[in-house]
């Protein structure tokens, strides 16, 4: 598998099809992996692919939108690429996608690999990349299933319980904006969190502002979050952000029959209006 990725990367760089391949290399703990930008064909042996390759690399494409770029992408990451293509943030002709068939990765932290899979993999039914130029692994033909049992508990809470639940988590947010910086869907030139005029959310790192930041950020990702789980994975204070994202994903599916990032052509529900949309006016 890794030889296929390295050979393809080498070919792309040698033929100057792309001038950079974004993939994974071993991290400094010699256990997990980290993103790497390969510019020279001689460097392709740094590339690896294994169950620790958690990062969604599609975010990096935004800064390289005008430069021909190769990228190693898992199925969930390819949904990120599709999201960006759909929202006209990338040029398809500048992309070479090395899609990798994936049956799930492991829960990892620096210096630590757990035996279990992250939540995003436990509920994932997309094992074949949704868009690719070159496929590594045998495509899996499997009807996608949707299982949202991970959010049943929070859905069954009373509003007061839910508020208490989120208060406890958001209170310890330090507004490092890691969730935003890692997210493929967060590419605003000026984020509402940074904007001063008008001031949407103050700089104060405190419960009220944290609540505004986390909820508005979630709303901006409704019908857009591709469930890669990176925000939750990197959160330094362990806020279960995927519970919000998964709820939005479920509602989007049920209300609009839409899954973000599956297709590049379908206009996303919040970018259009259809008479048959279930949340019409006064119905």
């Amino acid at each position: 598998m890794i030889e296929e990725i390295r050979n393809k990367a080498k070919e792309l760089l040698e033929t100057k099809t792309v001038d950079c391949v974004i993939g994974y290399e071993p991290a400094t703990d010699n256990l997990t992996s980290r993103p790497v930008f390969i510019y020279e064909p001689s460097q392709v042996n740094r590339l690896i692919f294994d169950e620790t390759c958690v990062h969604n690399l599609s975010k990096y494409l935004i800064n390289r939108r005008y430069k021909p770029t190769g990228i190693v992408a898992k199925p969930c990451d390819t949904r990120g690429i599709n999201l960006l293509l759909n929202e006209k943030q990338l040029r398809r002709e500048n992309l070479f996608i090395i899609g990798v068939v994936c049956s799930g990765i492991r829960k990892v932290r620096f210096n630590q690999i757990e035996n279990s899979m992250p939540t995003k993999c436990q509920y994932c039914s997309q094992h074949t990349p949704v868009i690719y130029d070159f496929l590594v692994g045998e495509p899996v033909t499997e009807a996608p299933t949707h299982n949202y049992s991970d959010i049943t508990e929070i859905e069954n809470m009373s509003p007061a319980q839910r508020k208490a639940f989120w208060s406890e988590h958001f209170d310890r947010c330090i507004r490092c904006y890691g969730c935003r910086q890692v997210c493929a869907g967060c590419y605003c030139y000026e984020c509402f969190g940074d904007e001063l005029d008008p001031l949407w959310v103050g700089i104060r790192i405190a419960p009220g502002e944290n609540w505004v930041w986390n909820t508005v950020r979630a709303f901006h990702l409704s019908a857009r979050c591709i469930a890669c789980g990176e925000c939750e994975h990197i959160c330094p204070v362990n806020i279960p952000l995927m519970l919000v994202n998964r709820k939005l994903e479920k509602d989007t599916l049920h209300l609009f029959d839409f899954e973000p990032g599956i297709d590049t052509e379908i206009v996303p529900p919040f970018a259009t209006y259809k008479k048959e949309d279930k949340l019409g006016t006064g119905e």
Binding site: A27, T28, F37, F110, C176, V182, G202, I203, A206
Partner: protein, 329 residues
């Protein structure tokens, strides 16, 4: 003979101290260990066996946000400065984190002193816990610290099977310890762990030559420019100041800021003297390893390894130091 305090006595002493002092100690919940204020009835919640807290104890002196003053809008603005209400004990610091506070002291207590920081600093006693099982990413001994370094603490506790060895290094610490229920025991002090060494010595002299190297842009490729490294760091102290208005009251608020954030150097009108991501990225390392030392006498790193552990994309200060040392110019 060595003076020790048993775990039970330590906890009851803390319970007693909590009547007078605010106790700030490591507490684990929701999968993270953070320094929290614990009342006398919550002393049992203190985690005495944590490896490293997710956030550093700098939060106590330099909180994520604090109100510098409040203006009540009547006829003329009247400024009501913020102040600290009572003395505190910061319990369970690792020696590396105590050094982090000492590094912030250098900047914040330099003339003119930051009065908000100083007030909290003066009113707080630091009780440390020697680090007997450091994490794999720790490297305190490479930057002048050590797992039982008591230089920057008031009191250091070292765990043994017989209880905690107590050492007071300052007058403040000695005063506080007089009230602790201790026993004289024959104790074999524990063997201190040895840590992986990186050769950080001489790094300051090497930094100027590699300033314009493409290396910084290449590592910045991977950096996602979040603020995690700066916010988990025990000695990063950049900040922002803004005003808040609510209900006829204006508050001037100071909050953490990071050199990686997009508006860090951007001026009103949009001009940014440090415009590229590579330059933002480089500033972090140059401030820590080159700019801070000649002003304040030390590199701005405690070797706690938090940035290494929390970085989403494995930007590792140990690797940066060794890369710089290997770079040929």
């Amino acid at each position: 003979m060595t003076k020790v305090i048993t775990k039970e006595d330590l906890l009851s002493w803390l319970r007693q101290l909590a009547e007078k002092y605010a106790i700030i100690a490591p507490v684990t919940s929701n999968g993270v260990t953070l320094y929290k204020s614990v009342g006398s009835s919550e002393i049992d919640k203190i985690n005495l066996n944590f490896s490293k807290t997710e956030l550093s104890p700098k939060n106590w002196f330099f909180p994520p946000s604090e109100t510098l003053f409040t203006i009540v809008k009547d006829e003329l603005p009247r400024i009501i400065p913020a102040s600290v209400d009572r003395e505190a004990i910061l319990f369970g610091l690792r020696p590396c984190d105590a050094k982090g506070i000492a590094l912030i002291d250098k900047a914040f207590l330099a003339e003119p002193a930051d009065v908000f920081y100083q007030e909290k600093r003066d009113k707080t006693t630091l009780i440390g816990l020697a680090c007997l099982s450091p994490c794999l990413e720790c490297f305190c001994t490479s930057v002048g610290g050590g797992p039982a370094d008591l230089t920057h603490l008031d009191i250091l506790l070292t765990e043994t099977a017989e209880g905690y060895i107590t050492q007071a290094t300052t007058e403040k610490g000695k005063q506080l310890l007089t009230g602790a229920p201790r026993q004289e025991k024959e104790i074999i002090p524990p063997v201190l762990p040895s840590l992986n060494l990186i050769l950080a010595e001489g790094i300051t002299e090497l930094m100027p030559r590699v300033f314009n190297d493409a290396y910084w842009d290449r590592v910045a490729d991977r950096c996602i420019h979040c603020n995690i490294c700066a916010y988990v760091c025990p000695c990063c102290y950049c900040f922002d100041i803004r005003d808040y208005v609510s209900k006829g009251k204006i508050e001037r608020v100071r909050s953490w800021e990071s050199c990686q954030s997009p508006g860090f150097t951007r001026l009103a009108g949009g001009y940014d003297p440090r415009p590229t991501k590579g330059a933002h990225f480089r500033q972090r390392w140059y401030h820590k390893l080159l700019y801070f030392p000649p002003i304040f006498g030390d590199i701005k790193c405690t070797g706690c390894g938090r940035c290494v552990r929390s970085c989403p994309v494995n930007i590792d200060i140990r690797e940066i130091i060794t890369d710089v040392q290997r770079m040929k110019v």
